[in-house]
């Protein structure tokens, strides 16, 4: 069965540190990839997405993600985190021709001021 793995369940960083959250998926064909974020007390919202083209995708608030097909990965990065980035981050894929999103288990990021 298709799955999405986020290996970092909890991450604690100091402000200005660099961030990389891992996301791997298990599906051999073309997929569309997403990162969603849930800030404390807010709705889950889209951070960035990849459908095709340039594998380096830029999203809101300085986040970016790189799609590496050979590694089945879509890692999220930010060069310098802020206290306001404290949130839970979810990676997701959708299989072409379906309406079915598959989400990872999420990564809780805490940024210390």
């Amino acid at each position: 069965a298709q799955s999405v793995s986020q290996h970092n369940h909890h991450v604690i960083l100091s402000e200005a540190a660099s961030l990389e959250l891992g996301c791997n998926y298990s599906y051999g064909g073309t997929v569309n990839l997403f990162w969603y974020v849930q800030y404390p007390g807010q709705h889950l919202q889209l951070l960035l997405k990849y459908f095709s083209g340039d594998p380096l995708v830029k999203g809101i608030k300085g986040f970016e993600a790189e799609f590496i097909k050979s590694k089945f990965s879509f890692n999220l990065r930010k060069p310098s985190v802020q206290w306001s980035d404290t949130a839970e981050y979810f990676c997701a894929v959708i299989l072409p021709g379906t309406y079915k999103y598959i989400f990872g288990t999420g990564t809780r990021l805490k940024v210390l001021a």
Binding site: H43, L44, A92, I94, T98, Y99, Y101, F103, G106
Partner: protein, 114 residues
């Protein structure tokens, strides 16, 4: 602009009682609608999705059911709640016919079954 509403925000129910959670979307027509459950450490689990009135697809066999009586209304129900039904339930919508599209999530309902 489009908005999505869910209610109630929090619900405490005894085991064996019925359940009805409602989700409505405003500002769009013919949306795809989804119900997810978010459990601690387990991410978001897709429960049901709907591409039209009366059309429901179930992803996980369980004692929950869903209905879509109107275009922008999606209801999650149970006849008899189990302890394991506790969790955070999220409704989401997306643009119909474009399955690569972004999903937009509601505020969620936190359900505690005692």
């Amino acid at each position: 602009s489009q908005t999505i509403h869910q209610w109630p925000a929090t619900l405490v129910q005894p085991v064996g009682s019925p359940l009805s959670l409602e989700c409505t979307v405003e500002g769009t027509s013919n949306p795809n609608l989804y119900w997810y459950r978010q459990a601690a450490g387990r991410g978001l689990q897709l429960l049901f999705y709907s591409v039209g009135i009366g059309q429901i697809s179930s992803e996980v066999p369980q004692n929950l059911s869903a209905s879509r009586p109107q275009d922008r209304q999606f209801i999650l129900s149970s006849k008899k709640l189990l302890l394991s039904d506790s969790g955070f339930y999220l409704c989401a919508w997306s643009v119909i016919g474009q399955y690569q599209e972004t999903q937009y999530f509601g505020p969620g309902t936190r359900l505690l079954v005692l």
